[in-house]
Symmetry: C2
Subunit: 340 residues, 2 copies
DNA sequence: CTGTTAGCGCTTTCAT
DNA sequence: ATGAAAGCGCTAACAG
């Protein structure tokens, strides 16, 4: 099979005795083209197996049709769900995706931004690394008018849309639920307070305690990276406390599951002695025994929202200048916290 | 801050009283450019903040500088490690990555290939979905001379390089190890036999048994999707057997870990009653108690090899026409199988 | 509603 | 060793 030269709009134009300009317009939704002409063009294009050359188009329009995505890590159920959502929307709208991992490091994140910038992505979607302090490294994009969207791990910025769930409320609900199950001494395991998701959940936790008149004890707040390993270590610290907590609220499921395992190992009954709740509704939460109480996090929807908001903005459509979008979460109560 | 027009080779040419052609050459490693001129060009480019416009270049050269990657799913430690390896090499060589997930479905895989094709990726790296039967959907790429590389879940094809570990040997080693620990009745949990990784490990398992004169019993081979959930279900089936196995070899760690938990739940002592081994050396394997015997799989190296092989081929460099590359794996013996 | 025309920025013969 | 010039395929004024 020989390598065949690709069909161009010139070929179509010639076959139809039209000008390339008309063909170009016909291929889009240009208003000033007769419906019938448009149909002829589309049919012929199909017949000839026409594939737009995006480089020519990009060169001409000074656009790339590419959206950058920077996430801390890909290896969680949550993130792969978000990516799937982004992918669906981007593909549908003819955008390509450039995905990269910051590995939770600001340094790598900065390098990624630079690569994205040099690749001239049309827009960028970011979920921040643990240790990112500010968003100066995104300024070069903003100065060029390249839209930037934060999701999940966001940063408040006047020119950027942020997509989250109400982490404060979710944190409040989880904590309140544990209190209602009779917990009076609830530990909270979380991560870098530089990130909204963790800071907000902690605030929710504090307010829920305060509302029920339970004093806040900072010795019960553990900050780590929420990994399996961290779960083991934190559980050991907890087991060494003179008074054990009677509830644990972990800011993710991986860590919660790891805690449950360690606690069971130590002979602690769950939920009777310690009730446990996690966050994200990872499939793991339905595997661990007892099943883990958690918060359903609409990952795919978040990906879709992020992508469609960005694309609307790129295409100068409506509803693109929102400053923040908050998706609905849901507390999922399972055996790990049911005491009544 | 106003939006500033980007520097082009014309700007550099003008500033240096050279022709654009010379600048273009100077920016590459063109042999016919005086070293000194080259340095002047490079310096000036730097000073002016020159960024190549890849669309113009792509349009001209009919290349995209983009590599496609299609994987079953992103949400495993192994895969995110592979991607990190690919990313490093691609970035270094100035290639962009287009990543997508087939979600283990041939249908989605075919759609992804088509998107990649239409995006005119310069090359494609693929790890196949569970249910892919043949590679007909890649033919359109091969016909165009677009290099295709398979990694991990490969398909033998004369024009494609394949990158794997020796799954047969690994399967043999794991099984043999279990036998040496005294196991005589070893179950094997695996996935679609359409995929080399699972078929090869099963062959290794069979041959190891045969070599020690242990009869193969097909009732001891369980085929599922190796998820946590599958681990639970398979363990339940196992627990219902009239004679329990005394060893389990799971083709991944996620499933092995899930089994261990279910077995412990049922009061089975590990490794005393049933020794367990997994595959991939997922961080999880060091978290579960007892720590899981597994096989170290060099994910990052695999990603690097795949990417660099592909890029060498794209750049017409040496060592690009290998048909198959086999990386080194390593059996990691931990408590879950240590009986002696 | 359709055509003409002029590039977008780069690479690559072909000249010199 | 360097330059001139053509053109990759498409889009967007502008003209009609």
């Amino acid at each position: 099979m020989s390598i065949q030269k690709a069909t161009t709009i010139y070929d179509i134009a010639e076959a139809l005795s039209l000008s390339p300009a008309t063909v170009s317009r016909g291929l889009k939704e240009h208003p000033a083209i007769r419906k019938e002409t448009r149909k002829r063009i589309l049919d012929k294009a199909n017949e000839m197996g026409y594939q737009a050359n995006s480089f020519a188009s990009n060169l001409r329009r000074n656009r790339t049709n590419t959206i950058g995505v920077i996430v801390p890590r890909l290896n969680s159920y949550f993130m792969s769900t978000v990516i799937a959502g982004i992918e669906r929307v981007a593909n549908k709208s003819g955008y390509n995706l450039l995905i990269s991992q910051s590995m939770e490091s600001i340094t790598k994140e900065m390098a990624n931004v630079k690569t994205m910038f040099n690749t001239r992505v049309d827009g960028l979607m970011v979920s921040l690394a643990y240790d990112t302090e500010d968003v100066d490294h995104f300024e070069m994009l903003l100065r060029k008018g390249i839209p930037l969207i934060f999701f999940d791990r966001i940063f408040e910025h006047p020119n950027c849309t942020s997509i989250t769930i109400d982490n404060y409320k979710a944190g409040y609900e989880v904590t309140n639920h544990l209190i209602e199950q009779g917990c009076k001494r609830i530990a909270h395991i979380t991560a870098s307070q530089k990130r909204n998701v963790y800071a907000d959940r902690l605030r929710g936790y504090k307010d829920a305690l305060a509302n029920k008149g339970i004093p806040f004890d900072k010795k019960l707040v553990f900050i780590n990276n929420l990994s399996d390993q961290a779960g083991i270590e934190v559980t050991r610290s907890i087991l060494e406390m003179k008074t054990l907590p009677d509830g644990i609220f972990s800011a993710n499921d991986a860590c919660a599951v790891s805690c449950i395992r360690e606690l069971k190992e130590a002979g602690i009954k769950i939920p009777e002695q310690i009730a446990v709740a996690g966050f994200n509704n990872d499939p793991l939460s339905k595997v661990i025994k007892p099943n883990l109480t958690t918060v359903e996090y609409p990952g795919e929807e978040m990906g879709e929202m992020a992508a469609s908001t960005l694309i609307r903005r790129l295409d100068r459509l409506e509803g693109a200048n929102l400053n923040s979008i908050v998706l609905r979460h849901e507390l999922i109560v399972r055996e790990s916290s049911k005491r009544k």
